[in-house]
């Protein structure tokens, strides 16, 4: 793939593709190494989760460094759940000196949904304040207003949930994140292109880049489960039916086909600026999704 950075690619208007890497829980990293090697030259950047779903795993920062060492470009995810503003800033400075240049700022899932439900939830800052803080580091000052000896140069990302119900408070926060300094957005998984198109009609008013989130569907059961249990995700009936009518054992292949088809439509119809693929444990099939999308 080209040598343009993720930021240059996305800002140039080229349709940009990222994929998610979930660090493992433990020190066996062979499978993750394999996924990084498989994907690093096929996508523009790899986005590394930060204790995803509040389950303790290898740190995002360490895995970002591994991706860099292997010649890929990482996006550091940073949540507000586990660290206060001191810890977040020192990790951000550390990430910068390691050569990491992209940060995705998130609130983080609540602590009780994960595997350490008795831990203290931090949330010293919220996601808008975190974005503001990264912008401040870029401008040479810490959040306390103290001068830095050398500023950062992060490309600041954030998230938005276009299918949130109700949507209005979500959009007010989206606008706050833009004002705070977010330059690119990764959405929660979207499946209803027409709904997403309406969201994009609104989002195009702002000078930011939007990457549509795509979670790989593998069965009708998974789609129904997400509709029922995951806030902000809506899989329309036609996709549920398409998965349900798939021959047994062919669910994954159908999911790959659907994801590929969606990416092609988003790209060809210039609906958004890129996609972020979340294969959740099935990173190995991402090259097939990309092939289906081409």
């Amino acid at each position: 793939m080209n040598k343009k950075s993720f930021r240059e690619t996305l800002e140039s208007g080229e349709f940009t593709i990222t994929a998610e890497v979930g660090p493992p829980k433990g020190t066996h990293i062979d499978e993750m190494f394999h996924h990084i090697d498989l994907l690093k030259d096929k996508v523009h950047a790899l986005n590394v989760t930060d204790n995803q779903s509040s389950v303790m795993r290898i740190s995002s920062l360490a895995v970002c460094q591994i991706i860099k060492d292997k010649g890929g470009e990482p996006i550091l995810q940073m949540t507000c759940r586990d660290r206060n503003r001191l810890a977040q800033q020192s990790d951000l400075l550390g990430a910068h000196v390691l050569g990491i240049r992209n940060v995705l700022c998130l609130t983080g899932d609540y602590i009780t949904v994960g595997d350490h439900p008795q831990a203290k939830p931090v949330f010293d800052l919220d996601s808008a304040q975190l974005i503001h803080m990264v912008k401040s580091l870029n401008e040479g000052k810490d959040i306390g207003g103290n001068e830095l000896s050398g500023s950062t140069d992060f490309y600041i990302g954030a998230t938005v949930t276009p299918e949130s119900k109700p949507i209005e408070p979500q959009l007010l926060k989206f606008e706050k994140k833009i004002k705070a300094g977010a330059r690119f957005f990764q959405t929660q998984a979207i499946y209803d292109i027409e709904n997403f198109r309406r969201f994009m009609d609104y989002a195009r008013k702002f000078d930011i880049k939007i990457m549509a989130g795509l979670v790989l569907l593998v069965s009708a059961g998974m789609a129904k489960y997400m509709n029922k249990n995951v806030p902000g995700i809506f899989v329309p009936d036609n996709l549920v039916d398409e998965l349900a009518s798939t021959e047994k054992g062919k669910g994954l292949a159908k999911g790959v086909e659907i994801a590929g088809r969606m990416i092609r439509q988003l790209r060809e119809q210039k609906i958004c600026d890129g996609v972020h693929i979340m294969a959740i444990g099935r990173e190995g099939v991402i090259p097939e999704i990309l092939a289906a999308a081409s």
Binding site: C80, P169, K173
Partner: protein, 217 residues
């Protein structure tokens, strides 16, 4: 009225806390814990019978009118003969009461309850935490709904992505604070307030533990 909301400790935990304490004086309170049925007269009687069955000697019991009040010192003094006979006090009040008593009596004090939060009775038998005494009130910009307390994450700049049809993703019985705030500000035609960036909280405003003096005028 604000209330201290408490929950009974488990029998196993109490047994462990009372190990080695043979003679016990029991204290309840006539205010919040009476209302929550955790430390009023019936609960004091119930635990007294349990302790007697376990072979403990109960030197006396007492339900203070308001355990956290300064008058508690006098009531304890009036009961000092029975209290003096005890190895320890089992206290079925909130932690305000436990500490008020512990400052007055030189005895081992065992809390029989866990203090959950300072709350308000919002329905029959329902208590809600609505203020966490954070020291920098933003109710004026949130339509009178406190997100610091009512949002699990204490978010002050709007909702996270976990709003599910106006409910919170981690507890569908709880309203999303930011949906409530949005609806309220919309009714008041003050959505402009929700667009204001709220700066990170200043935790230095009142570092824990809080301490405050009324300045003499």
């Amino acid at each position: 009225m604000i209330r201290s909301i408490t929950q009974k400790k488990t029998e196993e935990e109490l047994d462990q806390l009372l190990t080695g304490i043979a003679r016990i004086f029991i204290i309840g309170c006539g205010t919040c814990v009476t209302m929550t049925h955790t430390g009023g007269t019936p609960e004091v009687t119930e635990i007294k019978e349990k302790l007697l069955k376990k072979g403990k000697l109960v030197t006396g019991d007492l339900v203070l009118p308001v355990a956290c009040d300064n008058l508690t010192a006098e009531v304890l003094h009036e009961n000092r003969s029975k209290i003096d006979l005890a190895d320890g006090l089992l206290i079925l009040t909130c932690a305000f009461g436990v500490q008020t008593i512990a400052r007055q009596v030189k005895k081992t004090t065992i809390p029989g309850l866990d203090t959950l939060f300072i709350g308000k009775e919002t329905g029959l038998g329902q208590f809600d935490e609505i203020c966490t005494q954070c020291g920098s009130c933003i109710l004026g910009e949130t339509g009178g709904v406190c997100p610091v307390t009512s949002c699990h994450k204490g978010l002050v700049n709007g909702p996270c992505g976990g709003t599910k049809n106006g409910k919170c993703e981690i507890d569908e019985k709880k309203d999303c604070a930011w949906t409530l705030i949005y609806n309220r500000l919309k009714d008041l035609n003050r959505l402009d307030l929700m667009k204001r960036y709220q700066k990170p909280k200043n935790f230095q405003r009142e570092p824990r533990p809080g301490k405050y003096w009324l300045t003499p005028t």
